[in-house]
Amino acid sequence: MKKGLLSLFFMALVFGSTFAQEADKDTTLVIAENQDAEIAYNRGIENFKNKQLQQAISDFTEAIQHKADFSKAYFNRGSVYVELNRVSEAISDFDMAIQHDASFGNAYYSRGRAKQNSNDNEGALSDFDNAINNGFKEANVYYYRGVIKFQAGQYEDAKADFSLAISADRQHAYAYNDRGSANRKLEKYDDAISDYKMAISIDGKMAFTYNNLGSALRKKENYKEAIDQFTNAIKQKSDYYMAYNNRGSAKYDMKDYEGAIKDFEEAIKIKSDYAYAYNNIGTAKMKLKDYEGAIKAFDKAISIDSNYGYAYMNRGNAKEMLRDAKGACADWNKAAELNVNQASSFAEDCNF
């Protein structure tokens, strides 16, 4: 019957309905296989490429209706769902793609990515492993597996994955950046700096990598070069408030407290509720012995984030310098409540 239908399709296409009756008699002549599914599938791809995502979904759905085990059609429809941020539908489709083709590496990978984006890192990790075991060895599968391990604090394992991503793609700037970050977490600052620099040599427009490089240089107490790199980050991204904040801290490290305050204020101009920058202004004012100004800055930080433990601790330190022992102790105790351990040791003195 299906052959007949396809034949009918062709006949109608070529001759119009007038000859349908005659054509029907010719069924035995038509030997083309049934390809309704494939045709719909390919049309779906064209629609996807032309950003006709809803139409693409209809096409892949049609393909699946014609061919219930069409794993690629499930896969592609899943991918379109990803594009539409309909993650659970995407995951269901990837499930089906894998159900019909258990060695579908790309489907494992894509499902892993969808799970990763919906914070199911455990599921994602398992999918990435399956993708790799099924021959899917694109750089990104290692890269994103590395990201999960990084987030889990497994920096050595993450680093190994970022290295595999780099082996698969020597131009993988993100993998260099992230390996740099893993090295930084492992306190291998020289390696971190080298990785960040590689990432920049591949893609000189990544503001965040300049910023990361600056922070790694700060760890190496190379404040001057750190400031240069934060400046580069800001050149790439003029509203990069984090880089302003970090540059301020590097200036603070160089005892340029006035310059530091200017940078913290720049960060606040971009992000008016940036509690970190207010806190940091407070620390710089402390160094300038402007304890009252410092307290105002800490007050602001705390008004933005009432659980900002370090700001309480710092404010306590400022109050101590203003002989406000009671106020200092109240702040230290609050900071200790917020798990700032240092503050609890300060608060121990409050009983005397």
């Binding site: 005659e22 296989e33 990361n212």
Partner: protein, 690 residues
């Protein structure tokens, strides 16, 4: 312009120095215009000199009152400036000495030790580099003999400056606060002692309500008395003179208090070169101080000046300058309470970790039982006495003393320091500017190491989170097996009338010699359509009743995509003269051998001959125009004969069959040029001849 300005500054400076350096002696000739003033100044000088000659701290203080008055009259006496410097240096506000020594030097004082005192002035003002420079310069002006005598002292001062540089660069974090006018008076207040819980303070003062109201003739100040103040809710109350029996009409000074505040050591300077006496608080009354339990071992003919109990009262630490077991000058000793003899036992020098060849003084055993505070001129003092602490390890050994640091310690004497049980607050006396007068009691609040300030920073450590990249990847398109199909369509009509014919269309796979399908054209329109999938050689025979069949051949290669071929076919009735080109008869190349693919077509011809048994046909062979006529004639003849022979072999009577080789005489396409045209011309036909 700038150069001119520099020159002007230089000249002004030069003039200033020049006028500054003019020494004006206290000579009546120098003050002819102010004889009264001169006379008064000379009186002050004389009185000051009397005290100055006494060379004691109290005397220096008294001398200053007169000297400063004289100096106001004549500020440019090198000699007077030097003396004022010496008075300051030898009394309380020591740092003030520097300006007077400097002035004395600029006025050209002849004092040989002026460089030493300028060094002292810098030293006391924490100007260590200048101090060292002047100490060294002083060594250079000394004769070898003097140098030999003084080298050790000067070198120690230089070392103190080195210590001071380090200590001042790393100050300890403290608040130092004057206890205020309630406790401190305009008179000297010093030697504070506190109970461990900081609820009581006993100190020494030389205020006007001293018992008996007498003054020390040495410095004209009231005799020392012992005072007590209590701490209520963190506020020290107005001190009270402790009265008899602690205070007498002479000097009575505090030297130590037990942690519980029940036992007090006081110093009595009159007895035995300076002895320690003890008294106890019984109820609300203090017992009469005596040295009953201190006799023999503690109080000697030497100077015993400071004492402190251990937390359990079983050990007493005290300071003495006795020569036994001494490391030099005053040392710290300890003694244990002898239960049997009910007195303190034989003292032991606390050891060389604590004691030095220099002076130790002001011992305080902390109630924690393992920390000792004391003052010393040795160790890494930055000048005079500095306060140190040392902790006892688990084996009972004292650790290396640690300088309590600047600003607690200064280049001046820092001594008689007490600390509370928590170690967070200490008390001492100091003659600082801004106090209530001379020595005042200060409280030191220890802030501990600098409390770290925590900055908050963040980075975008993970690139794909900082800047996520959409990477939707879809599987590529599949190959659609597009229908490779030839549609053959057209109209089948009567070749003569043009009337549509409902004919049967037989498709033969020539290769397999199989009929693939049989369909038919529409009888009313004559239209037909057949699908011919690519990859085959098709023979098509169109047949209709009473008509001669029509033969077509289509070779459709496998790669041929969809195409439509319109082929209108005209069928001829069975009648004499009608002919059919046998398009599906094939021969080997240049031969007359029939290929098997020809059989279906020949079988149709056979069937025709069988269906019409009376019919006679003539088979003609045709070649294209290429090649020789002879060859072509023979080949065309042989091929026509091969067809006839096939029919004969099938059983058709030979008499019904004729054949002839026509070579290229009757081309379908005359003057053929293309291969296709040549092919059309190469053929076998038959014609109904009867």
């Amino acid at each position: 312009m700038k150069t001119l300005k520099n020159i002007a500054v230089f000249i002004l400076t030069f003039l200033a120095i020049n006028s500054f350096s003019q020494n004006v002696e206290f000579d009546k000739d120098n003050f002819k215009n102010d004889k009264d003033g001169f006379k008064k100044a000379m009186g002050n000088l004389k009185q000051g000199d009397e005290y100055y000659e006494m060379q004691s701290r109290g005397a220096y203080i008294l001398a200053l009152d007169f000297y400063l008055e004289a100096n106001r009259f004549n500020p440019n006496s090198a000699k007077l400036n030097y003396k004022i410097g010496r008075c300051y240096e030898g009394s309380m506000q020591k740092s003030k000495c520097l300006e007077y020594f400097k002035k004395a030097q600029s006025l050209g004082t002849g004092e040989i030790d002026i460089k030493y005192y300028i060094a002292r002035g810098h030293h006391l003002n924490l100007e260590f580099d200048e101090a060292m420079e002047n100490y060294k310069a002083y060594k250079n002006v000394l004769s070898p003999k003097e140098l030999q005598e003084k080298r050790k002292n000067i070198d120690k001062k230089i070392q103190e400056c080195k210590n001071g540089k380090i200590l001042v660069q790393n100050p300890v974090r403290v608040f130092i606060d004057n206890l205020g006018g309630t406790v401190n008076s305009i008179y000297p207040d010093y030697s504070p002692l506190i109970s461990a819980d900081e609820s009581m303070m006993i100190f020494t003062s030389r205020r006007a309500d001293t018992y008996g109201g007498g003054s020390d003739p040495g410095d004209q100040q009231y005799f020392e008395d012992i005072y007590v103040t209590y701490n209520i809710d963190g506020i020290w109350q107005t001190p009270k003179n402790m009265g008899k029996p602690l205070n007498t009409s002479n000097n009575d000074a505090t030297v130590g208090l037990s942690p519980d505040g029940q036992q007090l050591f006081i110093f009595n300077g009159k007895e035995g070169g300076g002895n320690i006496l003890m008294c106890e608080l019984k109820g609300e009354e203090w017992s009469k101080p005596d040295d009953g339990t201190l006799k023999k071992y503690i109080n000697t003919d030497y100077h015993e000046s400071s004492a402190s109990f251990s937390f359990d009262g079983k050990t007493m630490y005290f300071v003495s300058n006795r020569p036994d077991m001494s490391f030099g000058n005053h040392d710290i000793y300890y003694t244990k309470w002898d239960e049997e003899k009910e007195r303190w036992g034989e003292p032991v020098n606390i050891g060389s970790t604590i004691n030095t060849e220099y002076e130790e003084e002001g011992v305080l055993m902390h109630p924690d039982g393992r920390t000792i505070y004391f003052s010393s001129q040795g160790h890494n003092s930055m000048g005079g006495y500095d306060i140190f602490k040392s902790e006892m390890d688990d084996n009972g050994n004292w650790g290396t003393p640690i300088n309590l640091g600047y600003p607690i310690n200064t280049p001046d004497d820092d001594v008689f320091f007490v600390i509370n049980a928590s170690g967070k607050r200490g008390y001492y006396s100091s003659a600082q500017d801004g106090g209530n007068g001379s020595y005042d009691i200060y409280v030191i609040t220890f802030l501990g190491p600098e409390k770290p300030l925590v900055q908050s920073n963040e980075d975008n450590l993970i690139a794909s989170i900082a800047n996520p990249i959409s990477e939707t990847v879809i599987e590529e398109s599949v190959e659609i097996k597009t229908t490779r199909l030839t549609i053959l369509k057209g109209t089948i009509t009567d070749g003569f009338t043009g009337t549509p014919i409902g004919a049967s269309i037989e498709i033969v796979d020539n290769e397999k010699n199989q009929v693939i399908s049989v369909s038919s054209s529409n009888s009313s329109t004559g239209k037909y359509l057949v699908s011919l999938p690519s990859g085959k050689n098709y023979g098509i025979a169109v047949k209709a009743t009473d008509y001669l069949f029509h033969s077509e051949n289509f070779n459709i290669p496998a790669a041929t995509n969809y195409q439509e071929i319109v082929k209108d076919i005209q069928l001829n009735k069975m009648k004499i003269g009608s002919s059919v080109i046998l398009k599906n008869v094939f021969f080997d190349y240049a031969k007359a051998t029939l290929r098997p693919e020809s059989y279906p077509e020949l079988d149709r011809l056979y069937k025709l001959m069988a269906d019409f048994p009376k019919a006679k046909i003539k088979v003609t062979g045709h070649t294209d125009s290429r090649g020789s006529v002879t060859t072509n004639t023979r080949l065309s003849n042989d091929r026509a004969q091969a067809v006839v022979q096939y029919l004969i072999d099938k059983g058709i009577d030979k008499g019904r069959l004729q054949f002839e080789g026509m070579a290229a005489q009757k081309p379908i396409v005359p003057n053929a040029k293309t291969e296709d045209q040549h092919q059309q011309n190469r053929r076998v036909e038959f014609e109904i001849i009867e």
